[in-house]
């Protein structure tokens, strides 16, 4: 694990957890962090070096995202799937000149391809895309990575779409409770060149699994931070003459988080390790994301409860973790859907 260990050290060296009340980075600091991250190889973790990234294995990727999630500061390496490397935008995406949104919309409901709403059709020299009511998180990105179903035959294709091309309409932008923005995408026969088809069914499934691992990793980080801070607070806070840490109600809450963290850690790492070994890992990634995101939510909920009135205030990071973890639980497969799929296996 020495390669991973080295990454972690770097990460800690240049982005300390810092002031818990900070929620935003101003432009300059952000830019300097981006530069630093690129320099030490903590950027575009899925892209090969040839495409300007610092590709690492899934185990290392999990450990890196876990570390970045330990702060409520909105800073982490962008998730740029490897399929993008084949496209002309790869280098600009890797160096941050262009930004990317994964327009996976309804895929979040089921965590699989059955919910894709966009449709594509072969046209002269490329494709036409159709679809409406597609929710996109980060709609201000320059490029959308969008799965679509073939109008005939039902094949799945993955398209890289410029936001500004004709036929793409982005409307009804609004803020999420988690501080991201979301907007509704309409594709009205939008024409794109054939080089914009960057992947097929397996690539879309791979991105879902990879994003599930990333969510699991972030969730581990959130839970570690919440548990750590809760232990600290419980040791120091005295009520009715005794520290909170002496109360079984508090102890038991933290125990539940710890047991859950223990199980989620190994489920996540095992799935990531399997991915690195070339073994099947989709099932494990889905399970890890489901359990880890739920655990992060409960860890944040526990931290809030233990911190009392301060817990729900914006002066501590827990309410932010709480909102974020709630969203993570809803991305790339609702809990009941992941359960259902596991229950349908023979």
């Amino acid at each position: 694990m020495s390669q991973e260990g080295a990454f972690l050290k770097q990460r800690e060296a240049f982005l300390p957890l810092g002031d818990p009340t900070r929620r935003a980075l101003d432009g300059d600091i952000n830019q300097s962090l981006v530069e630093k991250a690129k320099r030490v190889g903590l950027w575009a973790l899925d892209l090969p070096e040839a495409a300007g990234g610092s590709r690492v294995g899934q185990v290392a990727r999990v450990l890196i995202y876990r570390e970045f999630a330990r702060t409520a500061l909105p800073f982490e390496p962008p998730a740029i799937p490897a399929v993008v490397a084949r496209s002309p935008y790869a280098r600009k995406l890797a160096n941050g000149k262009l930004s990317l949104a994964l327009a996976f919309d309804e895929v979040h409901k089921t965590g699989d391809l059955s919910a894709i709403r966009a449709v594509y059709r072969r046209g002269a020299g490329g494709y036409e895309l159709y679809g409406d009511g597609i929710d996109v998180i980060h709609p201000d990105a320059d490029l959308y990575l969008l799965p679509a179903v073939a109008h005939e035959g039902g094949d799945v294709g993955l398209f890289l779409l410029e936001r500004n091309v004709v036929g793409v309409k982005v409307e009804r932008e609004s803020d999420l409770t988690t501080d991201q923005t979301v907007a509704r995408l309409t594709l009205d026969g939008c024409r794109i060149g054939s080089d914009h088809l960057v992947g097929a069914k397996g690539d879309v499934e791979g991105i879902i699994a990879s994003e599930q691992l990333r969510i699991a990793a972030r969730s581990l980080g959130i839970a570690i931070r919440c548990l750590d801070a809760s232990l600290e607070h419980a040791r120091n806070r005295v009520t009715f003459g005794r520290p909170l840490s002496s109360r079984q109600a508090i102890q038991w809450m933290l125990t539940d988080v710890a047991v859950s963290l223990r199980t989620c850690t190994w489920l996540t790492l095992e799935a990531a390790w399997k991915a690195d070994q070339g073994m099947p890992y989709f099932h494990g990634a889905a399970l890890a994301k489901k359990r880890a995101a739920r655990m992060a939510f409960e860890a944040a909920d526990t931290a809030i409860q233990i911190h009392g009135g301060y817990g729900v205030s914006k002066e501590f990071p827990f309410e932010s973790f709480y909102r974020e973890a709630r969203l993570l639980r809803l991305l790339y497969g609702r809990e009941a859907e992941i359960d259902r799929k596991m229950g349908e296996e023979a």
């Binding site: 929710d135 409770t177 988690t178 109360r247 009392g308 817990g311 002066e315 309410e319 991305l331």
Partner: protein, 397 residues
């Protein structure tokens, strides 16, 4: 045994039902984009003082509703007859709130006055109580401190007698509207006292010398409670509310009376969320098939919450000790709302986390409910204490 409302209570409930149907439901689209400030805390002090024209527009609508309610004799329902109110029962007020909660418009039939203010005596009545009843003034509540919440022994704020005055020193965390209320009901202890002994409640105008708002604190729910500092704030003796040294009992009484209203509010918010879920599921038979058992489960839990809320209020109306029930309702109601909202998000997906979405609003609103006015752990503590003191007898009737 009789599970019905009395004829008078039923008449009132129907009046409110009609008001909700005719006045509030039609306004629901208007309030869809209203800021969080109108959620939970409803259209209180801060909103009223805002100069934001958008907020002012909502306030104007609220004022119109208020006039209609007054015209229908639906104002001052829970104010004692001695002060010109209708003095309806606790059960009736639960039924009233249940009806109001059927609309998402954050309007309530006021003016509610914190019950401990009825301890006002002499000139306090004219100066503090009546202006609140008339809606001319609002009060805030200063109890929690940076190092003290539900435990009186940790309270550090002091009130040192000094001739005809008390000099109050200390910091109070989280009074909602501490920056805009007319006065604060603040708790401090006499020097040299311990535990609940010596805790005294004072009525202090917010502009009083020595009273300082340090900052307001953002929260997940959009409310902005304050940090207040009392820096040698000298208050005359006749601004002690109730008796010197009996402040903790006032605090307990204030909390106790609110629990059942908290219960029916949680019930109302959760009902509206479940209606949204029901509507979503009706659109999609496959989704309905997947989630109908969970929906049904929560509908059943809602009935359970409703039943203990009415029962506890009935006990309070009978003059029986309803503290056990109050703790059960606060605990069960706030925890249930949390779970209902969680389920609703699971069904509705990430799009329902849009800030203005009813489910996202409920998500932000629900979280502090399990902490404020006595965290779930405090409620559990009170329940177990009653259990070990009285055994299962504490659950008779």
């Amino acid at each position: 045994m009789d599970f019905r409302l009395s004829p008078e209570e039923e008449t009132l409930r129907r009046q409110v039902e009609q008001f909700v149907r005719e006045e509030l439901i039609p306004l629901e689209p208007v309030f869809e984009g209203a800021p969080d400030i109108f959620e939970g805390s409803r259209w209180k002090s801060r909103a009223k003082l805002s100069r934001d024209p958008e907020v002012q527009r909502y306030i104007a609508v609220m004022e119109g509703l208020k006039r209609k309610a007054e015209a229908g004799d639906l104002w001052h329902l829970d104010v004692p007859k001695a002060y010109g109110g209708r003095e309806v029962s606790n059960v009736a007020m639960i039924a009233v709130t249940e009806e109001l909660e059927k609309a998402s418009v954050p309007f309530e039939l006021g003016n509610h006055v914190s019950n401990i203010l009825y301890a006002c005596k002499g000139e306090q009545v004219e100066r503090f109580l009546l202006p609140c009843i008339r809606g001319e003034k609002t009060a805030c509540f200063g109890l929690t401190e940076p190092g003290a919440g539900s435990d009186p022994s940790m309270m550090a704020a002091t009130a040192a007698p000094d001739g005809d005055y008390f000099a109050i020193n200390g910091t109070k965390m989280f009074p909602t509207f501490g920056d805009v209320a007319g006065f604060v009901q603040v708790f401090a202890r006499l020097p040299g006292t311990k535990g609940r002994e010596g805790v005294t409640c004072f009525l202090v105008d917010t502009g009083h010398p020595g009273y300082r708002v340090v900052r307001s604190i953002g929260t997940i729910a959009g409310s902005e409670p304050c940090e207040l500092v009392f820096d040698n704030c000298r208050v005359p003796k006749n601004q002690v509310l109730g008796e010197v040294g009996k402040g903790w009992e006032l605090n307990q009484a204030w909390l106790g009376a609110r629990r059942f209203q908290v219960g029916i509010r949680c019930h109302g918010t959760a009902q509206r969320v479940l209606r949204r879920v029901g509507a979503l599921l009706r659109l999609d038979p496959r989704e309905h098939e997947k989630f109908s058992a969970s929906l049904g489960h929560f509908r059943g839990e809602m009935e359970a919450l409703r039943s203990i809320t009415y029962h506890g209020s009935w006990k309070a109306d009978q003059g029986m000790d309803a503290r056990f029930e109050a703790a059960c309702v606060k605990l069960f109601g706030t925890e249930l709302l949390h779970r209902v909202v969680d389920f609703a998000l699971e069904v509705a997906g990430p799009g329902a986390l849009r800030k203005e979405h009813a489910i996202a609003r409920a998500f932000r609103y629900a979280r502090p409910r399990r902490i404020v006015e006595g965290a779930s752990e405090i409620q559990r503590h009170m329940i177990q204490r009653a259990l070990f003191r009285e055994g299962i007898a504490c659950m008779e009737l």
